[in-house]
Amino acid sequence: MDAAGVSTPEPIVVKLREHLRLAVVSVLSLTLLTGCIFPLVLFALGRLLFAGQAAGSLVTRSGVVIGSRLIGQDFTRPEYFHPRPSAAGSGYDGASSGGTNFGPSNRKLIESVRKLAEDYRRSNGLPQDATVPIDAVTSSGSGLDPHISPENAALQVPRVARARGLSEDVVRRLLADHTQGRQLGFMGNPRVSVLDLNLALDRTTALTPR
């Protein structure tokens, strides 16, 4: 009776009530299987094997949670590398992810890019017509992008070095250490984790923030 492809004529006429009962029972039972048992097993395995990741890759400093390795946070002071602009809530709101959703012809987008590029050039001491990397003047999809491009980071090195009284070479070396290449050599883009790099800077100069 289990043989494949054997087709027996249907022994019963459509019994709506019978199939409705099956529908109710199977939705309930299979919800228990896939929506309760499966997640519980996965939860237990995740806790056991990858506890740090399962908890959200949180970063602590002197016992206080200062953020997540994966979630971008805002930096505005000159002695830190700055992340990308963010449209999550009022900026890097970890409880309200999202992008601007502005289309390329939207005046608001064009104006904002123009202004952000001017600000970027001014704060990094770049000439008026210096070329700015696109990721420095656009918002990410999540508004929580933890990374900037290596080109963007390189342009911020002089500012950070000056604010910290470090030589540019020291900062550049730290930046190189914190630049990730493409994963497995071909996936995604090279990138710099802003939080990791800034924490490394703080460790280097022992400049503890307020």
Partner: protein, 562 residues
């Protein structure tokens, strides 16, 4: 470098399609597989527990009825759970849940998840509790995905059988799809995602004291329970508002790559299953080849559009492609690949904001959805989308040579032709009528809160294309959480899921009952390059006839403005 990623991806999809397709044929023909020792006892227990008679076969009509009842019960159950969610313990505090769960939103979400659309008119972290996401949504990602796969398999049986009154047993196919396909893969895949950083916790939202002394609230949750199956089941609805762009959902390029494989491999492999179960392997490969050609074409076009600096920013001294709405870790390549794979694969888990794409960049996902997601497509549903379109080509070919058209030995006479043409016309009819209604009504235009003009038009068209294709991705500038959009997108989702499946199953029932015609010198060969070209041409021709005017008003007009 972007093309390296594209090519490796495509090679893996095609390479894995063969073993995966053979495995699926084994599973649904109830032949031995390597998982039987573990799963047979669970399967037998479930049949006894549920009262399923595994040998009882169903006609295509009863099969469709069971699919419909199963989905209806799922919808009602999820609707009630969504309305009752504020009584569920745990998860984010009420102050974070700023989007009220109104009845229209709950109904829209329930229909959306039980049809694998997972269109979301809300943001996850501001609307849902953890237990709603796990018990309600994770389960529907499994169940609706499995039900779609079951229907696809029943459709194949229509071609594989002859003189048969039946196309299988829905409940058996459903259980086997869950146990042999979705659950084992989801377990392994989800663990890989946790390893890469996707969280799975039930902690309240974390208050972080940031380096510069601010407070950052970080939404947490059982993200990894949803993340892999939402892609594997070609559902796609995000745990968070930003969906696959959110670093917790998609922390590394490797995760992105894996979930994109999860979307594409099984639907691609169903062409192999189709060839195997019908005994016409080459016919399956021809369909896969057509998919690959369309896939590469869309990818090249989207890449070309997004990798260039926006013309609007040309005089601002900016370097790099269009990164608005994209994440640095994926870059242009990873974002474009995801846009093309998710829009082909009936999966709404975009990793970049399509509303910020260049006009030609957004044209590609839009067209992918409007063509009926024939490239890989939804799990199970993509196969019948492709075969139905191939049948239109067979019909046209038959007209050209003046013979009664046939495909894999099945004759396409009057009744069959009517089903095929209805299938081809349903998507344009629903999408274009609803788009027109939205654009002439106040309630429809009220959704355009971010962009206007041609881009606003595209947003509306995109919303209905996505709903009808059971895709669920959105140009998120459109505010779709209103009674009008919740109701109209629900209509499109229902038509796309049940209207198309009913037509496909009806045709499968007719084909199963036919005897198989012998191949003669006059038969249009279904396994030749010529036939592949005919199918490709038909897809493009029918798509252009239906949607070129709408495209001209949306993305094409926008592209020409600059």
């Amino acid at each position: 470098m972007r093309w390296t990623e594209y090519i490796v991806f495509l090679v893996l999809v095609v390479g894995l399609a063969w073993p995966a397709g053979v495995y699926l044929a084994q599973v649904f023909d109830r032949k031995p597989t390597f998982l039987d020792r573990v799963l047979r006892p669970i399967e037998s227990f479930l049949y006894r527990w549920l009262g399923i008679h595994r040998a009882r076969e169903m006609s295509a009509g009863v099969y469709a009825l069971c699919f419909l009842l199963f989905s209806a019960v799922s919808t009602v159950g999820l609707f009630l759970l969504l309305l009752a969610q504020h009584w569920l313990p745990g998860g984010p505090g009420d102050r974070y849940l700023t989007t009220p769960m109104t009845a229209d939103l709950a109904a829209n979400a329930a229909i959306s998840f039980s049809t694998t659309t997972t269109w979301q008119a809300y943001g996850g972290e501001t609307t849902l509790r953890y237990l709603t996401q796990v018990i309600g949504l994770v389960s529907q990602n499994f169940l609706a995905g499995a039900a779609g796969l079951a229907v696809g398999i029943a459709f194949i049986r229509g071609f594989a059988r002859e003189r048969s009154a039946t196309v299988g047993n829905f409940w058996v196919d459903l259980v086997r799809a869950l146990l042999w396909v979705l659950m084992p893969l989801a377990l392994v895949g989800s663990l890989a995602l946790i390893w890469q950083g996707v969280p799975f916790n039930l902690a309240p939202y974390t208050e972080a004291h940031t380096v510069e002394g601010g407070i950052q609230t970080i939404a947490q949750g059982p993200v990894a329970a949803l993340e892999f199956i939402k892609n594997l089941g070609t559902n796609g609805g995000g745990f968070f508002n930003a969906n696959g762009a959110h670093p917790y959902e998609n922390p590394t390029p490797l995760v992105d790559f894996l979930v994109l494989l999860a979307i594409a491999v099984l639907p691609a492999s169903l062409t192999v299953t189709f060839g195997r179960m019908t005994g016409r392997s080459r016919a399956g490969w021809v369909l896969l080849a057509v998919m690959v050609v369309l896939f590469v074409g869309g990818l090249a076009l989207c890449d070309f559009a997004e990798a260039a600096t926006s013309p609007q920013l040309a005089d601002l001294h900016i370097s790099g492609g269009n990164m608005e709405g994209k994440e640095v870790r994926f870059g242009i390549g990873g974002s474009v690949l995801a846009a093309v794979v998710t829009s082909n694969g009936a999966t709404g888990s975009y990793n970049s904001m399509h509303d910020s794409y260049e006009p030609v960049g957004v044209l590609v996902p839009l067209v992918n959805m409007l063509l009926g997601e024939v490239v890989f497509g939804g799990l199970g549903t993509g196969l019948y989308s492709m075969v139905m379109t191939a049948l239109v080509a067979v019909f046209l070919g038959g007209l050209m040579v003046g013979r009664t058209p046939e495909y894999l030995g099945k004759k396409i006479a009057g009744a069959e032709t009517r089903l095929i043409i209805l299938y081809a016309l349903l998507t344009p009819a629903v999408v274009l009528v609803l788009t027109a209604v939205a654009l002439v009504s106040k309630a429809g235009l009220a959704g355009l809160i971010t962009n206007t003009g041609t881009r606003g038009f595209t947003e509306v068209l995109f919303a209905y294309a996505s709903s009808m294709a059971n895709n669920g991705q959105t140009m998120a500038g459109l505010n779709a959480n209103s009674v009008f959009y919740n109701a109209t997108t629900a209509i499109a989702m229902l038509a796309g899921r049940f209207g198309l499946a009913a037509l496909a199953l009806a045709l499968a029932g007719r084909f199963a009952a036919q005897r198989r015609l012998p191949t003669t010198a006059g038969t249009l060969p279904s396994d030749s390059v010529t036939f592949g070209a005919l199918v490709l041409g038909t897809i493009l021709l029918v798509g252009a006839l239906c949607f070129l005017p709408a495209m001209a008003l949306g993305p094409i007009a926008e592209a020409l403005q600059h």
